[in-house]
């Protein structure tokens, strides 16, 4: 058992040691720019990735400012898509499963916004469809992918690829969670710094 645990954790540690730093920095700059223009951030994924998206939204919208809630009139507007399970099933049932993200995204999307798409394979048709909507509208795309990155990694502006063998969902999603938490932590520290250094 020890051996098994070590093998898995070594794999994740190795991935963490080789994070795509330049691309993560690019993603942070994109989010910073979105905040400055009061834009919104849409985040989505399938299955475990959708759970990551939901988790990140709650952290990002609230925790980033929690040390100085009264000091920041403008906060982040991160929105997980679709926003309700009714929308999810309506698009899936009435139009097709490939529209569950692109459909709701089209309802919301404005010129100031940003998209974060999460897909281990980088090939899920519903993810790619939504990313294409963003690109047609010249909206910046942050792509979190795994395996060989797939089409998502090709299309994204910030190409956060956690490169693994095909099928390593658990390791990829663990590292995606770490990256998303790091982005949250960066902005917690940033806004703390702003609040503590302004009179």
């Amino acid at each position: 058992m020890e051996e098994y645990i070590k093998k898995f954790s070594d794999k994740v540690i190795e991935l963490l040691r080789n994070l795509p730093q330049e691309e993560i920095t690019k993603a942070i700059d994109i989010i910073q720019a979105t905040y400055e223009r009061d834009g919104r951030i849409y985040i989505f994924g399938n299955g475990g990735s959708l759970a990551l998206a939901t988790h990140w939204v709650s952290d990002f919208n609230k925790t980033v400012f929690s040390h100085h809630l009264d000091k920041h009139a403008r906060r982040f507007q991160a929105i997980r898509l679709p926003t309700t399970e009714s929308e999810l099933t309506a698009w899936a049932n009435d139009v097709g499963y490939e529209m569950v993200f692109a459909g709701p995204l089209q309802n919301y999307l404005q010129d100031t916004d940003t998209v974060i798409a999460i897909s281990c394979s980088g090939t899920s048709p519903n993810i790619i469809k939504a990313v294409e909507v963003a690109r047609e509208n010249k909206i910046p795309v942050i792509g979190l992918s795994g395996f060989n990155g797939g089409k998502l990694n090709e299309l994204a502006d910030a190409k956060i690829l956690v490169k693994t063998e095909k099928g390593e969902y658990e390791a990829v999603e663990s590292v995606h969670a770490t990256i998303l938490h790091m982005i949250t932590r960066y902005f917690v520290d940033y806004f703390d710094h702003l609040a503590e250094n302004s009179s």
Binding site: K26, D29, Q32, E36, Q110, D111, N137, Y186, H193
Partner: protein, 339 residues
């Protein structure tokens, strides 16, 4: 109605190498940062008003865009084939001719708004090229492309202007602490002297062939500036600004004058490591890199020097870097074909 805005910029080293007269020989390079001072453009297409109206420092209303006095708005409307039923209104956070790139910033916001009014969206590079085309080819300003790129992209970047007219954009990635440290070591003053970039740049363009080696040196220095910035060596950056300013003064006779020289010397004597005049020269803003604890002394000395020169519009401009470039603040036009 559409409202866009685009940020102004401060450029550190390499200014002048973005002129085609130079980069057709050898790649030009500039390192600059977008700041939280903006030009705003509003475009409306009133269906019941046939006029072509432009409101900036003055208000114009004419029957056809070719009658407009404002050259940028005139040429932009003609470029897009917009000949009637249009209002263009502009606001600015800073006076013109400060050396913060405000006229190109206006062009960027204008092109973005007009493009959008025709239902077209473009990426940052396309907007920068459109604004450059407007100013350089249509309005025939003797300027380069650095300001249009700095404004369209936002952030801190190295722009490389290639002989084939393409432009490479390399962002300088800093975290929030590095950025705010950098901001804290800068001091920016508007001298109160409105400079005219065109006359300085026309002379500089004519001198380009004689000054190729100087300009190459300036273009090469952007990487050293970036490395010192990442290493947070502010004294080194101050020295580089100073050396760059001395080189720039050799490019054209009107880059500096006795008042500018005196203001600059005042800052150095009060403790600044180095600095430069922003923009083409002849006036505009003066930028210093200084130890944080020397800033109050420098402020005081500069205020006194400006008063002695009777520069009533002299003022400090607080600076914060911004990451977002040209952006849409409002767009409530939508496709009404189905109505």
């Amino acid at each position: 109605m559409i409202i866009t805005r685009a940020p102004m910029r401060i450029s550190f080293v390499g200014g002048g190498t973005d002129l085609e007269a130079f980069y057709r020989h050898s790649p030009g390079r500039v390192i600059s940062a977008a700041i939280d001072k903006y030009a705003y453009v509003t475009v409306n297409r009133p269906p019941l008003l046939r006029h072509v109206a432009a409101r900036y420092a003055i208000a114009e209303a004419v029957a056809h865009p070719r009658e407009l006095k404002n050259d940028r708005i005139r040429e932009a409307l003609l470029h897009f084939g917009i000949e009637s039923n249009v209002d263009v209104v502009t606001f600015s956070d800073a006076p013109v001719k400060t050396g913060l790139g405000s006229s190109s910033t206006f062009s960027v916001a204008l092109m973005k708004a007009l493009l959008l009014s025709q239902g077209k969206k473009a990426d940052k590079g396309e907007i920068a090229e459109l604004a450059s085309h407007l100013e350089i080819n249509l309005v025939k300003e003797p300027i380069g492309k650095q300001d249009q790129y700095a404004s369209a992209f936002g952030g801190i970047n190295i722009f490389q202007f290639n002989p084939d007219h393409s432009v490479d954009v390399s962002p300088v990635r800093l975290d929030f602490k590095q950025k705010s440290n950098f901001e804290n070591h800068l001091l920016l003053f508007f001298t109160g002297i409105a400079r005219d970039a065109s006359s300085v740049l026309t002379e500089q363009k004519a001198n380009t062939d004689k000054k190729l080696e100087t300009l190459k040196k300036m273009a090469d220095s952007v990487y050293e500036f970036r490395d010192k910035l990442v290493a947070q060596d502010f004294e080194g950056l101050g020295n580089m600004l100073h050396d760059g300013w001395l080189l720039k003064k050799t490019l054209a006779s009107k880059v500096s004058n006795s008042t500018i020289d005196n203001l600059y010397e005042t800052g150095l004597k009060a403790g600044a490591w180095g600095g430069k005049i922003l923009g083409a020269g002849g006036g505009g803003c003066v930028l210093f890199m200084a130890p944080v604890e020397k800033k109050p002394v420098i402020r005081e000395a500069m205020k006194n020097a400006a008063a002695a020169h009777q520069l009533v519009e002299f003022n400090e401009i607080p600076v914060r870097f911004v990451q977002s470039g040209a952006e849409v603040l409002m767009n409530n036009s939508f496709n009404t074909n189905f109505l």
